[in-house]
């Protein structure tokens, strides 16, 4: 069976105009620069990269929570990039978001009951009593109980809050959930519980995930395919196993070698990244990774790398151009 595309991102760009001073010309931060990828129905697509590389911006632009500079977002065969607030609002029943900070993303003045019934109410689903029933149902599914209905977000622990945030997204039974670092604000001991909850919900509700993270261990555990981002660009995209066992891009190799070795017999050449992430305000010429690249060639300093398809494994690097 051929996988069915659910979401297609084409040449997504998001530039921020930055004014550095009165008489300086306007500068641009290229937070997301020409990113394209496809997410298939039922899969978990991972988006990884160091902090500041544009993962959140990409996730928010896909859900139109942030205006983008240009690009197309095809969801279930429709380009949603230009939809009005109201049309987009109706579509949101099918595409939901789980935020990084579960405390900031829940209104502190609302009870759990109000938080969980709101998605159903604004989409005109069910009667008032049925909505309460649904809220109780979903609370139990995410591992909380009816007794929590009248509590406020501040009365819960971080892990419980994130369960509520997840419940709020899942209660609409959407097709797609974009989870922006859903566990990185949590205690390590809680992280795996929440990850397991996400996996269970995916099975029970046939969800498609875009999972944004900088934690490679988690990404390897739950994603099917991974896109690696660096300074607003997608540098490599492949099946998760291929990325982790046979990385192509020097940046991916460096990123992976920074992860602690999980199996003692797993051999690794350590690549240490030289220098810091360059400022997105003045990204380097040519390949944006070249100042830190251990395999840098002459061409990398002047020319942008082409996107090369190595058969289900896409990489943007001059090393692989023939």
């Amino acid at each position: 069976m051929l996988p069915e595309p659910l979401l297609e991102i084409k040449q997504l760009k998001k530039f921020y105009d930055i004014k550095t001073g009165w008489f300086q010309p306007k500068q641009q931060v290229k937070a997301v620069d020409d990113v394209s990828f496809t997410v298939y129905k039922g899969e978990t697509f991972g988006l990884v990269g160091e902090s500041g590389c544009g993962k959140s911006t990409t996730g928010r632009a896909i859900l139109r929570l942030q205006e983008m500079t240009s690009g197309e977002i095809w969801f279930q065969g429709e380009n949603i990039a230009g939809l009005s607030y109201e049309k987009m609002r109706k579509l949101r029943r099918k595409m939901q978001m789980v935020f990084q900070d579960p405390y900031a993303s829940l209104n502190p003045k609302k009870t759990i009951l109000q938080i969980l019934t709101e998605p159903l109410r604004v989409h005109g689903l069910y009667s008032q009593e049925e909505r309460v029933k649904k809220a109780i149902e979903i609370l139990e599914i995410v591992g909380l109980s009816e007794y929590h209905l009248h509590s406020y977000p501040h009365e819960f622990s971080g892990g419980q809050r994130q369960r509520i945030g997840i419940a709020k997204a899942v209660i609409l039974q959407p097709e797609l959930i974009i989870a922006d670092e859903p566990v990185s604000a949590l205690d390590v001991s809680i992280q795996s519980q929440v990850i397991n909850l996400l996996l269970k919900l995916q099975r029970d509700f046939q969800l498609t995930y875009v999972f944004i993270s900088h934690d490679l261990g988690v990404v390897r555990h739950i994603t099917d395919r991974v896109g690696v981002m660096y300074l607003g660009k997608l540098v490599e995209l492949a099946q998760t196993e291929d990325i982790f066992t046979d990385p192509k891009h020097p940046y991916t190799k460096a990123l992976l070698s920074a992860v602690p070795i999980t199996h003692p017999d797993e051999e690794k050449d350590r690549v240490i990244l030289a220098g810091d992430v360059p400022s997105p305000l003045n990204p380097p010429q040519g390949c944006t990774f070249h100042p830190r690249c251990p395999d840098c060639m002459m061409i990398c300093k002047t020319e942008k790398p082409p996107v090369i398809d190595l058969g289900n494994h896409v990489v943007a690097c001059h090393m692989y151009s023939t």
Binding site: R60, L65, R92, A104, N107, K109, V122, S151, K168
Partner: protein
């Protein structure tokens, strides 16, 4: 949060939550009020002023405008006049009671209308930004460059004296502080992730404003109002003191001060009692406002 262990007897493991569900709002309000000494004091002062303002005519021992020159400038506690009499022999206590209704009307009407106008404009400026924001904030900036009382005085001088006009001039000068506070609150709120989360959920725009932004404005507006009521009462007193505002012989705390100022050395009680009335009322409103702010914040509840 504490996880109580579920007992085999089927006892409700979360008694606190069940309690909150059943307890009526006014009851929990009273229970919490009784725990706060300053809250009670503020509440009692406000109740007292409300009572005097509403029932003044039946409570006051004398007619506030009945002049009796033979009894002028009597000191307190003489001849049945608890707080003494003024330069025309009118009973000061009765005049204070009647004057409280002026302060009450000024305080409540001004806060209500200035609050409504300022909040609406601040909300529009902060949420929709753009040209509406630019125009509204320009007006606010220009008005802010005048001292509040001076602005009220000028407007009042143009419009003419009288209770209704002083309220209009106070509202005219008073809405800007609401607009400013509300705008900056809304600017901060709309960047909050839970507002982004509302958009992601699919909440209609007007519902985001009414259900998620406005309720988060209550606390700052109430705190601001509790300070503003006092400011308005004092402003009215200042304006009346300067001879605008509420005109004699209608008693108001401000014009009582004004009329009494000539006797400051010979008959101290003429200005002392209206002064004390103003201070106590302002204090009471502030104490109550402070307490209310704490109660309205669910994050502080139970602490």
């Amino acid at each position: 949060m504490n996880q109580t262990t579920i007992t085999s007897t089927g006892v409700n493991p979360h008694p606190v939550n069940m309690l909150r569900k059943r307890e009526p709002k006014w009851q929990s309000f009273l229970r919490r009020l009784l725990k706060s000494p300053t809250g009670i004091i503020g509440f009692l002062i406000i109740l007292g002023v409300l009572f005097l303002g509403l029932c003044g005519p039946w409570v006051a021992p004398y007619d506030p405008n009945q002049a009796e020159l033979s009894k002028k400038l009597l000191p307190p506690l003489s001849d049945g006049h608890w707080l003494g009499t003024d330069q025309l022999g009118r009973d000061i206590f009765s005049r204070l009671i009647h004057g409280s209704s002026v302060s009450l009307i000024i305080g409540s009407c001004t806060v209500l209308f200035a609050g409504l106008i300022g909040t609406t404009l601040g909300l529009i400026a902060g949420y929709f930004r753009g040209w509406a924001d630019i125009i509204i904030m320009r007006i606010v900036d220009v008005k802010l460059s005048f001292p509040f009382v001076l602005l009220v005085l000028v407007i009042n001088a143009v419009m003419g004296a009288g209770l209704q006009n002083i309220i209009i001039s106070l509202v005219f000068a008073g809405w800007i502080i609401y607009a400013r506070v509300v705008r900056s609150e809304v600017l901060a709120l709309r960047e909050k992730e839970f507002i982004l989360s509302c958009i992601a959920t699919g909440v209609p725009r007007w519902e985001i404003i009414l259900r998620h932004i406005v309720p988060n404005l209550f606390t700052p507006i109430i705190v601001l109002s509790s300070l503003q009521i006092a400011t308005y009462i004092i402003a009215e007193a200042s304006i009346s003191f300067l001879g605008f505002g509420v005109q004699p012989p209608q008693p108001a705390w401000g014009n009582m001060l004004s009329e009494g100022k000539d006797y400051i050395f010979s008959a101290w009680w003429l200005i002392t009692f209206p002064g004390i009335a103003i201070v106590i009322t302002a204090l009471g409103v502030n104490l109550f406002g402070d307490w209310l702010r704490d109660v309205l914040d669910p994050e502080l509840k139970g602490n």
